[in-house]
């Protein structure tokens, strides 16, 4: 009977193809939305793991989180280096890790920090060693792959953080790669990590505690730096004397979560932002858009179901005599229902398979061609358990669309149907 179903579907090939396409588009839309939103949320969660609070200059808390946790926006400004010590002295603070931002190399951000930062995100060395002296750099897995940089490779950072190559270069201050990190699936894969002092040094700022590796660029030289073409905000974001851009804080006790944000916000020029709060606010904003698209995709699937229903109803109406004949030559009622149901199920299964391929294909294409999506770590290779529900829904639509006309046919009188057809 499956063979007969396939023969009927082949017999009206155009109609079959259109219905499969229609259902495929609905399934693909839902799959794309599911993969996109789940991977986005997953990525947000992983990048923010272990970071309970971020302290930075006053401004938009979301911007602070985006710039210092996800490294996608420009920072709100700088805070004095003392902030780090101030936070470390607070009860309930397990870790306070400074970040100094401002430069990049081939679009990859150079982050002045401490070895505790990669440790916090669970990154470990693939080869080489952790940065120790200023101008030593450890690069993320993707930086290594994309730039082809190996150990001992020297490179010059450029000023600015979005497409840093366009900004002025710090030619006189090359970095040297001393270590490469294993892939983590987090934002750290796309970062170049170095000591905070390196960032100061590049911009000619004296470290508060003099250090032997410092090359002695003066503040005057720094002032002469060509900052043409950088925005005021980017300039503000630049680490100025003994400042850092943000401090990532991990709490050691739950009390800190209650007490610390208030404490920080009372300080002049400081603000505290909680990644979980800001991300859920961002996702709820994006979520409204996603919900609208999701509703549209569901509508598309229901339309596909209706189209299959109409196609089968019309086809079965034309085939009433065929079915009566099938009954006469020995097909049971169950076999007839099974045959029609399998037609609906085959259509739905083909539509679902097409939709899955299309959905993953579009994600793959988007990740390959749209830099921002690639940076978000969008991957077509990951399968979400929710896809099984989408496929199940598609199959249910196909089955229901087939069973209604099949039951109608079975209620008819074979002798009468044959008499009318004779």
């Amino acid at each position: 009977m499956i063979g007969l179903s396939l023969a009927y579907l082949r017999d009206r090939a155009l109609n079959t193809a259109l219905n499969i396409l229609l259902l495929g588009l609905g399934v693909a839309s839902l799959v794309i939305l599911l993969l996109f939103s789940s991977q986005l949320e997953n990525r947000f969660d992983r990048d923010a793991q272990g970071i309970d609070m971020v302290v930075g200059a006053k401004g938009s808390p979301l911007q602070l989180i985006l710039s210092s946790v996800y490294h996608v926006d420009i920072p709100t400004g700088n805070v004095p280096l003392d902030t780090v010590e101030l936070l470390r002295r607070q009860l309930g603070v397990a870790e306070a890790i400074p970040l100094a931002l401002g430069d990049s190399f081939r679009s990859f951000r150079i982050v002045g920090t401490e070895p505790a930062y990669p440790a916090l995100l669970g990154a470990s060395l693939a080869d080489g060693r952790m940065f120790a002296a200023p101008m030593e750099a450890v690069i993320g897995a993707e930086v290594a792959t994309r730039t082809g940089a190996g150990l001992g490779q020297r490179f010059v950072g450029g000023h600015g953080m979005g497409g840093g190559d366009e900004g002025p270069k710090h030619e006189e201050q090359p970095f040297i790669v001393v270590g490469r990190l294993k892939p983590t699936g987090t934002v750290i894969d796309r970062l170049i990590l170095t000591r905070v002092e390196s960032v100061w040094s590049v911009h000619g700022i004296e470290a508060p505690h003099a250090d032997d590796h410092h090359d002695g660029e003066t503040a005057a030289e720094h002032a002469a730096h060509d900052h043409d073409g950088e925005s005021a905000e980017e300039h503000a974001a630049h680490a100025s004397p003994a400042e850092v851009t943000a401090v990532l804080v991990r709490f050691g006790s739950p009390i800190a979560a209650v007490r610390l944000p208030g404490f920080v916000n009372r300080q002049t020029n400081l603000q505290a932002a909680v990644p979980a709060v800001e991300v859920s606010r961002l996702l709820s904003l994006v979520g409204v858009g996603l919900d609208a698209v999701r509703a549209f995709a569901v509508l598309l699937m229901i339309t596909a179901g209706l189209s299959i229903f109409v196609a089968l109803l019309t086809a079965l109406k034309e085939r009433e005599a065929d079915m009566a004949m099938l009954r006469v030559i020995g097909a049971s009622r169950a076999a007839i229902i099974g045959q029609v149901a399998s037609e609906g199920l085959i259509l739905a299964a083909a539509g679902a398979a097409l939709g899955l391929m299309l959905g993953h294909g579009v994600i793959a294409l988007a990740a390959a061609n749209i830099e921002q999506l690639h940076q978000l770590g969008l991957s077509a290779a990951r399968v979400h358990p929710g896809e099984a529900w989408i496929v199940a829904a598609a199959l249910a639509i196909g089955l229901i669309a087939a069973l209604i006309p099949a039951l109608r046919v079975l209620q008819s009188d074979i002798a009468e149907t044959l008499a009318n057809a004779r």
Partner: protein, 240 residues
């Protein structure tokens, strides 16, 4: 009732293949019960091909529907191969029909989505549970459609379609081949050829023919005739 499994001297099962007792059928129309077919007692012996002759409205199709178990008679009973077709459950009738009866209709009732060979294979699969390719090829060749085996029904001429329908009815090796108006749409030459083919293939497969028609052109070919007249009173004639 003799067992249908006992064979007579011709190698055919003993006992009538079709047997009616006081068979008639009434249909309610506008609240009034009207007799649409009356046969009374009649029997069809294996190998004695029979013609059911009568004008439109004489109840030929009603009788065919009762023989094939698609309709329950209002009076009397009908047995097929010794089994009480008229009183069996719907599933029992389906099974009996599947085992013993092949049907050929006036209009082409092949499945349009399947080739000629595919139609035969489906019929075999449904009736016997297995597909015998050799038997299918043999039957298709026998009805002269070897070159059209893979053609779709809509690609066949009317004559070819009729022959394909006969092959489909015989592919399950039925003991009774029932045909409803198999020749009425054909010209004289093709009608004669069709009857030749049905006799020949029925004899080759051991099937007994029961042909309902109002086509007087083929009447002389049958020794065993059941003449129906509208509206009632059946007249049987066993001689020719």
């Amino acid at each position: 009732m003799p067992s249908p499994d006992t064979l007579n001297s011709n190698g055919l099962p003993q006992g009538p293949l079709v047997e009616t007792r006081g068979l008639s059928h009434e249909r309610a129309e506008n609240g009034v019960s009207r007799r649409v077919m009356a046969i009374g007692d009649w029997s069809l012996q294996p190998g004695h091909h029979a013609l059911l002759l009568g004008p439109s409205g004489s109840g030929k199709s009603t009788f065919i529907n009762i023989v094939t178990g698609l309709l329950t008679p209002s009076h009397g009973e009908l047995r097929v191969a010794g089994e009480p077709m008229s009183t069996l459950s719907p599933a029992g009738r389906d099974a009996l029909r599947r085992r013993t009866i092949g049907l050929v209709f006036q209009t082409l009732r092949l499945i349009p989505a399947l080739s000629v060979a595919g139609n035969l294979a489906l019929a075999q699969k449904l009736a016997l549970g297995v597909v015998d390719r050799a038997e299918i090829d043999r039957l298709i060749a026998r009805v002269g459609l070897a070159h059209r085996a893979e053609a779709r029904p809509r690609q066949l001429s009317q004559g070819e379609g009729q022959r394909a329908a006969i092959a489909r009815a015989l592919v399950t090796r039925p003991r009774l081949l029932v045909a409803d108006e198999p020749t009425s749409a054909l010209d004289d030459a093709n009608a004669a050829r069709m009857i030749d083919l049905m006799f020949e293939t029925a004899d080759a497969t051991g099937a007994t023919l029961l042909i309902a028609t109002h086509d007087g052109r083929i009447a002389h070919r049958f020794a065993n005739r059941l003449d129906l007249v509208a509206p009632q009173a059946p007249v049987t004639a066993a001689a020719a």
